[in-house]
């Protein structure tokens, strides 16, 4: 419960940053990280709720970000079954692809230059998530958390 509360506090804070001063897809990166570290069901629920938070704070169409995050989370779950998704060689191209996919779904402009910078951010986000939530198990092999 504590981990979920902390995760949502971090998500709300990052959402406010993303909608005011930081022109980066922070929440999408968090969704990606969570989808790589948690089992599928929990990742999907988080993706949905994170999308709602982002839409409400940013004033965007409610449900659109949730829709996009769910698709990205699904692809991430499928991807990590086939590849060592947390290895940078697989993680970076997949992150770039996820940014493009989310931009297409949410009908936003996609700039490959800023997408590249966002892609590099996942190398910071993923270790940070592991650090903040040491109880999570990689690749969702077990269910360490109960929301």
């Amino acid at each position: 419960m504590r981990d979920w509360l902390l995760l949502f506090i971090i998500t709300i804070f990052l959402t406010i940053l993303e909608t005011t001063i930081v022109p980066a897809r922070l929440i999408l990166l968090v969704v990606l990280g969570v989808s790589l570290l948690l089992p599928e069901k929990q990742s999907l629920v988080f993706a949905f709720l994170a999308g709602l938070i982002l839409d409400l704070v940013a004033g965007q169409t409610l449900g659109l970000s949730s829709f996009g995050f769910l698709i990205v989370s699904l692809f991430t779950s499928l991807y990590r079954r086939k590849f060592r998704a947390q290895h940078p060689a697989y993680l970076l191209p997949f992150t770039f692809f996820s940014l493009w996919l989310f931009a297409e779904i949410s009908r936003q402009m996609f700039f490959w230059q800023s997408a590249l910078l966002n892609t590099l951010l996942i190398l910071i986000f993923l270790p940070l998530l592991r650090f903040c939530f040491p109880g999570w198990v990689k690749a969702g092999l077990q269910l360490p958390l109960k929301p």
């Binding site: 406010i16 940053l17 909608t19 993706a47 004033g59 409610l62 949730s66 402009m109």
Partner: protein, 262 residues
């Protein structure tokens, strides 16, 4: 891991996907406005405070970080006195600043029939977010100015917020004319950072440091300054010439802007 177990999460996924689509449908009919309204009441002040802190304090992040240790001691010793005076000082500063901005706006060379609604900026990412929305009479397509300089055009409105498309946005295409040479062209935003003047016929004259103003076409009001020509790019074999244009405003530093009611 068998296929059955692999897809155990599918019902959850489909349910959440359905909920998302349902929310999108409800949003399209305007039924989610009460949620947006109640969230904006809470979130707008927080966004404004964070954005102002960033604008005022974190202009030079390295300087800010390295000065923290010495600042901490100084702050501790002065805190008692400052605590009593700070609210009053802030109130007075805000009023003085607002007064100055309003006076400048009223003195700007714009048609006297135009009316202005001041709005505070809440953040700048792909759009500039303002704290005025549908409840304040704001409409999509409305111009936003600071004095007689174009800030942008309202692209999206919410009950208490609006999002402004800046001239530097890639989707912005503003018909402009150079003040001195009267050359006409289209100002095209680039990557949210700058803009370029395009589609200027080769026969027209462009001059560096010439100011560009809106022509009144393309749903933009006429006579608003937008930028200054910096570098002209002219290739004789091409039909059009172009020029790099410098914005007249630092969009990151805007605190108060004005919505125009012509």
């Amino acid at each position: 891991m068998g296929a059955g177990r692999t897809w155990q999460f599918l019902p959850t996924f489909l349910l959440l996907l359905f909920l998302s689509l349902l929310l999108i449908l409800l949003e399209s009919r305007g039924w989610t406005r009460p949620f947006h309204q109640s969230i904006e009441v809470v979130v707008n002040p927080a966004k404004k405070e964070i954005y102002r802190f960033f604008q005022k304090k974190v202009r030079n992040p390295w300087l800010f970080l390295t000065s923290l240790p010495s600042q901490a001691e100084k702050i501790n010793s002065l805190q008692k006195q400052v605590q009593e005076l700070l609210p009053e000082k802030e109130k007075a500063r805000a009023l003085l600043e607002e007064n100055k901005i309003l006076r400048r706006q009223l003195g700007a060379p714009l048609p006297p029939s135009w009316q202005f609604l001041p709005a505070q900026t809440l953040g700048k990412t792909d759009f500039l977010t303002l704290d005025k929305g549908e409840k304040d009479g704001v409409k999509v397509g409305q111009m936003v100015v600071l004095e007689n300089i174009l800030v942008g055009r309202v692209a999206r409105i919410l009950p208490r917020q609006s999002q402004v498309e800046l001239p530097t946005a890639p989707s912005a295409k503003i018909p402009v004319v150079a003040q001195e040479t009267r050359a006409r062209g289209i100002l095209q935003g680039q990557f949210g950072q700058s803009f370029v003047l395009e589609r200027v016929p080769q026969g027209e004259t462009l001059k560096e440091n010439d100011l560009l103003v809106t022509t009144g076409e393309g749903d933009y009001l006429t006579g608003l300054l937008v930028g200054k020509i910096a570098q002209i790019e002219r290739i004789e074999t091409e039909v059009f010439q172009k020029a790099q244009v410098i914005p007249l405003l630092d969009y990151q530093k805007l605190e108060t802007v004005f919505l125009v009611f012509p």
